[in-house]
């Protein structure tokens, strides 16, 4: 028999056996026990998207309040909770986890693995994210929402100026979401370094995988800083420590340093995965590999390193010594270089490519148009004299929404249009998609461009109202109209998605003619991802291999066996068996969650909670009967 007859037969037989080994099962218990990376990744994205919509509703409420001067729609108490929860949710519950969710879904497929490393830990990360987010939003409904901003500067968030439980809720939401982020980062790093398909040496890794790797390492270094800060805060509030109390030798600036040591890298933690997404979209729709693979990878890594060296530019208005401020000015200017390199490489790719304009590519155009404005204002903010004028004004609000929406949300929507067919097996409607793009791009610019001018004209941030004689009303009204357009565009996206599930055109394995391994399997992929795991011979496997590509054989098909490869060159190293689905990650998350929520009210919750946490962890790690 010839090879092309043999391969499908071999594949069908393998698939039948693999289904038995990798099936997640049915029923509520199986649903809660599911640990497959596609299930976890899908749930991660859905959960964080739910928080995105909830926080987006809060944004619309703020825009309605600010539409006219001296509006009494929302009072100061509620407004402060709304903007605090909006920021906290967008940063901790949407932007970071949605990118991690996409990575949890896509990275194992992109590297040709059957599963993510430590799938139970990834499931645990999901539940922690869900519980942390519910804590934040349920508290808001109970009039216990965070009230000191997502940055929660002490002493305003401290025991004396934020009585009640609102700031404790904030602190524990952070602890939840950062545990989730760190757990997911560990899974991603291990998958990327040890589970790549044979032949996928580091210099052949897809750019989104590189971006996920860099981001995951940043998470490992940045998140502990903010978790420590939030723990200090809750200790100051709960058990009377004085980390931030100047009267007892503490220092309010300590909070700012710990917070921004995390807070600035956070921006890049959100933005770098989006850069990876842009590279994949550009590659597929320009019909050529991205120009400058090596500079692109080095730029990602450089951004990650520099990203840790500019946190003080958030604190130029405090008593920073001049020489110190100058260092952070230079670093903040310097980080524009790797971003610039990447923009130029994409432009070169678009220039040389044969562009096929579809919705995902439109979002990339929108990204370049919008993000570069945010980058330019970022360069301005690096200059201390100018920063001191526009710091804490609407100019900065405009800047970081241009960077985060332009730099991360627009690429994310492009990525959703690009990869959802892989997840659901059905195409989103192209015309609705293009309408979605124009509504969102116009809405975002209409909302945030006028805010630059508002900042220059003196409008400070975090004000619940403003006097009519300041002349800020017209631009605020324009911004509100833009905000409504953005909300409509998100609704349109949801409509397009739901519609596609029933009437969308079937996608097939590779609807865009893309080069990556994730397109080498069916849409949606089977639970084991690949019946015959691929072997990689280049950076664009599907474009280089033609109809046939070499595959991995010799893995047990009736067990959850995966291939572990070496870090640098992805040479096969050994085989290992992966764990079955398990209810324990869910139970452990409940135990940890109850401990954290209890600790908002009494420090003894930490002591009492350690018992169920220990029990669930023992259950989690108990060896399977029959294992040696």
């Amino acid at each position: 028999m010839s090879d092309d007859v043999l391969r499908p037969m071999e594949e069908r037989e393998a698939a039948a056996k693999l289904t038995g080994a990798w099936h997640e099962g049915e029923g509520i218990l199986a649903w809660l026990s599911a640990t497959g990376h596609k299930t976890t990744g899908r749930r991660f994205v859905l959960t964080s998207f739910g928080f995105f919509i909830a926080a987006g509703v809060l944004a619309v409420l703020m825009r309605l309040q600010l539409a006219v001067p001296e509006n009494d729609l929302i009072g100061p108490d509620l407004y402060n909770q709304i903007f605090s929860v909006h920021g906290t949710a967008m940063m901790f519950l949407f932007a970071v986890p949605v990118m991690q969710g996409v990575a949890i879904y896509l990275v194992p497929l992109m590297v040709g693995a059957r599963e993510i490393a430590f799938p139970r830990l990834a499931a645990f990360a999901l539940w922690m994210l869900l519980f942390g987010g519910l804590l934040l939003f349920v508290s808001l409904l109970l009039d216990m929402g965070a009230e000191a901003g997502w940055f929660a500067y002490v002493p305003l968030s401290g025991p004396e100026y934020s009585p009640g439980k609102r700031s404790d809720v904030y602190a524990q939401t952070i602890t939840f979401s950062e545990i989730s982020a760190i757990a997911a980062a560990v899974c991603l790093i291990t998958t990327i370094l040890k589970m790549r398909a044979p032949g996928m040496s580091l210099n052949r890794m897809p750019l989104f995988v590189w971006a996920s790797l860099v981001t995951a390492f940043m998470i490992l270094f940045a998140m502990p800083s903010v978790m420590m800060a939030s723990t200090f805060l809750i200790m100051d509030r709960l058990i009377g420590t004085h980390f931030f109390n100047p009267a007892e030798g503490g220092d309010p600036l300590l909070w700012q340093h710990l917070f921004w040591f995390f807070g600035h890298p956070e921006v890049y933690i959100i933005f770098i995965p989006a850069l990876g997404m842009v590279s994949h979209i550009v590659e597929a729709f320009a019909r050529r590999p991205v120009f400058g693979y090596v500079p692109m990878v080095l730029s990602l890594a450089a951004t990650a390193f520099l990203g840790f060296g500019l946190w003080v530019h958030h604190m130029f208005a405090s008593n920073v010594p001049q020489l110190g401020a100058s260092f952070f000015t230079a670093a903040s200017m310097m980080i524009a270089i790797p971003s610039g390199i990447q923009i130029f490489c994409w432009l070169a790719t678009l220039w040389d490519g044969r562009l096929v304009i579809r919705t995902p590519l439109l979002f990339v155009f929108g990204f370049i148009f919008t993000f570069v404005i945010g980058g330019m204002t970022g360069v301005m903010l690096a200059a201390v004299p100018l920063d001191l004028q526009v710091h804490d004004t609407y100019f900065v609000v405009a800047h970081f929404h241009y960077v985060l929406i332009g730099g991360a949300v627009l690429p994310l929507f492009g990525a959703l249009y690009y990869w959802i067919p892989k997840v659901t097996g059905r195409m989103l409607d192209e015309r609705l998609g293009q309408l979605n793009f124009w509504l969102m791009a116009i809405g975002v610019n209409l909302t945030f461009f006028p805010m630059h001018q508002l900042g220059l004209e003196g409008m400070t941030r975090r004000v619940y109202t403003y006097p009519p004689e300041m002349g800020w009303d017209r631009l605020n009204l324009i911004a509100t109209v833009g905000g409504v357009l953005v909300a409509l565009s998100v609704l349109l996206f949801l409509f397009n998605l739901l519609r596609s599930l029933s009437v969308g055109r079937l996608a097939g394995p590779d609807p865009w003619g893309s080069p990556g391994l994730e397109w080498a399997t069916s849409s949606p992929p089977p639970e084991f991802n690949f019946a015959l795991p691929p072997v990689v011979t280049g950076r664009s496997p599907l474009w280089e291999a033609g109809e046939e590509w070499p595959v991995v054989t010799g893995l047990k098909l009736d067990q959850r066996e995966v291939l572990i490869t070496s870090v640098l060159d992805a040479e096969p190293d050994h085989r290992t068996e992966f764990p079955e689905p398990s209810i324990w990650p869910f139970l452990a998350a409940i135990a940890v969650g109850l401990t954290f929520i209890g600790s908002i009210f009494t420090p003894w919750a930490v002591v009492a909670g350690s018992v169920p946490v220990a029990i669930t962890l023992i259950g989690w790690f108990w060896p399977k009967p029959g294992e040696e």
Binding site: Y153, N319, W351, Q389, G513
Partner: protein
């Protein structure tokens, strides 16, 4: 920056929203704000040019697609890439230009930073500003304690002189910002910040707290009145006097209501027994243009409304409502109006 592009950009900005106003960094009225405004126009010009070039390159790349007759299908074979060298040169040149621009910006920023933050002269007029939730305590220091002036939410400075501002906060972090004069500076509990401001033309400039400080962060503004040195000295002399003796029975009754009633629990009026420090010093209340940290104009009607029900104008502020019979209220208002 030369006058021409500056004028053109100013016209552009005017068409967008305006460069004039009492709280506007583009309406600079002092040497520091002027320097920073210059930096703004330079950076805006250069970064706008870069943005236009990037977007133009993108649009040309999209346009080139249309003029080529090649099949525009996803199923088509990926393009063999042969022009890597010329693309590489273009990218490298763009990166080189970026690095040069950023380097120039950095040096320019350093130079200007050292200019606007140079230490103030030792003999400069010194003002202590203390931020409270949610008002500004202002004190003109003097070696002779009887010449110390205490006021609130209003700062007078002489034109053409550097004025040292000493900033501190007893509660939470605030930020002192008068955009027409200078950038902002934080007031951090447990620390003292010193910087200086200068106005080069007379005028009234609005300032506002720029660091989120709780419920009434939005209503924590103040005014800086820059006056010719003689007018400033006259104002300072006036402020140094204790409150005038009430001229008639009505105002005497008003004073008695003040010093024996709830007002004196928080406020001070020098020359009377009211000396509490919790709220603003009211010795020369009638000389101020606004009340409640810039929230309301200082008129008899607004003052009456504020005293009766401060929580409806500035919810959450520390002043409780005061219930006075109408006759007592009129007497109190009459007295407060004598505090020039």
């Amino acid at each position: 920056m030369s006058a021409k592009p500056r004028a053109a950009l100013a016209a552009l900005a005017l068409s967008l929203g305006g460069c004039e106003g009492p709280q506007n960094m583009l309406d600079s009225s002092g040497p520091q704000a002027d320097t920073i405004e210059g930096l703004w126009w330079v950076m805006l010009t250069v970064t706008s040019a870069v943005w236009f070039l990037v977007v133009a390159a993108m649009l040309v790349a999209i346009w080139r697609r249309r003029v080529r007759a090649e099949a525009l299908e996803l199923s088509g074979e990926p393009k063999p890439h042969r022009r890597e060298r010329s693309l590489g040169i273009a990218v490298a040149a763009s990166v080189g230009l970026t690095v040069a621009i950023l380097f120039a910006f950095t040096i320019y920023s350093f130079v200007l930073e050292r200019r606007v933050f140079a230490a103030p002269p030792k003999d400069a007029l010194e003002i202590q500003v203390t931020g409270h939730q949610w008002w500004w305590q202002v004190r003109y220091v003097h070696k002779d304690p009887s010449k110390i002036v205490e006021t609130a939410n209003e700062i007078h400075i002489p034109v053409g002189q550097k004025v040292t501002v000493r900033l501190s906060s007893p509660d939470v972090i605030h930020s002192f910002w008068v955009p027409n004069l200078h950038g902002k500076r934080d007031l951090i509990p447990g620390q003292e910040a010193i910087f200086w401001i200068e106005a080069d033309r007379p005028g009234s400039y609005r300032g506002q707290c720029a660091e989120f400080c709780g419920w009434q962060h939005a209503h924590m503004s103040f005014w800086v009145h820059a006056e010719e040195p003689e007018a400033f000295q006259a104002w300072l002399e006036q402020q140094r006097r204790p409150a005038p003796e009430p001229p008639d029975d009505l105002t005497r009754r008003g004073r008695d209501i003040f010093v024996t009633g709830p007002c004196a629990m928080c406020h001070a009026i020098s020359g009377t027994t009211a000396s509490a420090r919790f709220g603003p010093d009211l010795t020369h209340l009638a000389s101020r243009t606004t009340i409640a940290a810039g929230t309301l104009p200082n008129t008899r009607g607004h003052l009456a409304a504020w005293i009766a029900d401060p929580q409806s104008y500035k919810p959450g502020n520390r002043m409780p409502p005061t219930f006075l019979p109408p006759a007592d209220m009129q007497a109190l208002l009459a007295y407060l109006e004598t505090l020039r």
